[in-house]
Subunit: 287 residues, 2 copies
DNA sequence: GTTCCGCATGAATCGATAG
DNA sequence: ACTATCGATTCATGCGGAA
């Protein structure tokens, strides 16, 4: 049995990151507080100060990441007074100056985006997933995230349940997000850099800002079992919870005690079930 | 019968734009050279020089656009040597300094994107559609591009409960309550800022960089019949061809004689059919 | 066991009003 | 004038209880 560690720490990541060993992390997957968003929990960083606030963190992340590791940053600029802010663009430029390579920008298409109507814009249905690396030779396990190929209209799919047909056939036709591939013998194709995922907005008392499928996808892509995953803005703990399920070691840092405690309760009680979870997980994996 | 003009000009848009009247254009929709890799035209702009090359054009576009008009820029930075270039980000910042408002960034999700496989990235399935405006009060005809409401509504709106009829403010700070009765008999919803369009791969002798549905969507959204549409990098003429079909006046500028001549052949012969085309188009419009 | 249906919820944004 | 707060608007999802 592989021994998996899940360390979560209460504190400001600007301090805690300094205690981590350099070149020790395989994947950083995080969603920092957006500017002027979540002001009641994180204090609300002003857009004009955002880059200056983030850069010291970026420097530490650069230090702790392995040379062949990857840093995925989930972020979206807000619209205000009729314009999009530019702080995310400026952050990308600043991180490059800091030494990061801006390798790729994935798009997370949020199928269930926030409602609303305004005279000058439509609903915002996408977020950036910025990929940064330390070197051009990074680990990437493309075959782990392959998706079923082809259209649903292959004739032999008539027996699928109606909701599966409707939901997966609607609008995007990406085929991403559901694991219906097990039912059918179809060939697999490599995915694209556009991900179609609904946010989880259910009635449970924990509300994550991104669905588990999001970190799962990148953990599959950029790490293997036993690797180390870091989330310096742990929040509701989605990243570390998924990492644990997938038998990756993880480190989560959270500044808000309430969030920290809630994740702590979830992570610890199931420590003994790892072997079993491994089995469960692997049967669900796309082969 | 409305008289529609479609003027196409052979020449460098840096010169031709200067001959256009100021405040005369309702919509600029264009895909400049680097986005489609026609680097042999316009002398092959280098990424490092891209912003400096574009800014004089941006200045003229700012001059010719009406105050309530919109400038849509379809562009995507290329990946080179393992990194995404940053010239598009820098261009956004530079255009803002020039006086443009960066109003929105739409995503064009290309459902059937170019095939290929690389060790360090997936297929690129999206492009930016950057919206710029001169003022905060621009024309936007949102109802023209509404889409069928999601499948969830089929069962949802059959019977409304008592609580559905009253407004019910949620306890969170979202300010989002519900009044489902507003949605009775509603079959259309406003779209989001993510567009799902296949690239056109028909066997016509012209190779368009974007499908007709793309300019059509923005022409519907930002202009009405008789308005003026401009494409300073006409290419295969998709924008002006669609504008003509939709009974908008248009101006196309193209520097490559071969492209120019091909569009000229397509545009001119059908001048007398405008009335008929109008009827055809209107039956296709979403009401 | 299925399927159906009620319902809470979500990194939103604008304009008006208040201090 | 400039900032802070508040009300209005709106759509897709998944859970859980009912049929």
């Amino acid at each position: 049995m592989m021994q998996i560690q899940n360390e979560i720490t209460l504190g400001d990541c600007r301090d805690v990151l300094k205690t981590l060993e350099e070149n020790s992390i395989d994947l950083i997957f995080t969603s920092p507080p957006y500017a002027d968003r979540r002001t009641h929990t994180y204090g609300g960083i002003k857009p004009e100060e955002y880059v200056d606030w983030f850069l010291p963190i970026g420097k530490e992340l650069l230090r702790v990441l392995k040379p062949d590791g990857t840093f995925m940053l989930n972020i979206k600029e807000k619209a205000e007074n009729g314009e999009r802010h530019t702080y995310v663009l400026e952050l990308i430029l600043a991180l490059r100056k800091q030494g990061w390579l801006w390798t790729e920008e994935f798009i997370w298409h949020k199928r269930n985006c926030y409602p609303g109507k305004w005279p000058n814009r439509f609903r915002d249905a996408w977020e950036r997933l910025l990929q940064f690396n330390k070197t051009r030779r990074f680990n990437m396990h493309q075959e782990e995230v392959m998706v079923p190929v082809g259209e649903w209209a292959n004739g032999r799919l008539k027996r699928l349940s109606e909701t599966d047909m409707i939901r997966d056939n609607s609008k995007t036709r990406s085929g991403f997000g559901k694991n219906i591939s097990n039912w059918l013998q179809r060939s697999l194709a490599y995915p694209t850099n556009v991900l179609h995922l609904a946010t989880e907005c259910n009635n449970k008392n924990h509300s994550a800002v991104f669905p588990e499928a999001l970190p799962e996808w990148f953990i599959k892509l950029f790490t293997k079992e036993g690797d180390w995953v870091l989330d310096p803005f742990m929040g509701s703990g989605t990243t570390v919870r998924v990492a644990k399920k997938m038998l990756r070691n993880s480190i989560g840092i959270e500044i808000v005690p309430e969030y920290y405690n809630r994740v702590k309760e979830q992570i610890e009680p199931v420590e003994c079930l790892l072997c079993e979870e491994k089995g469960v997980y692997e049967t669900n994996r796309v082969k």
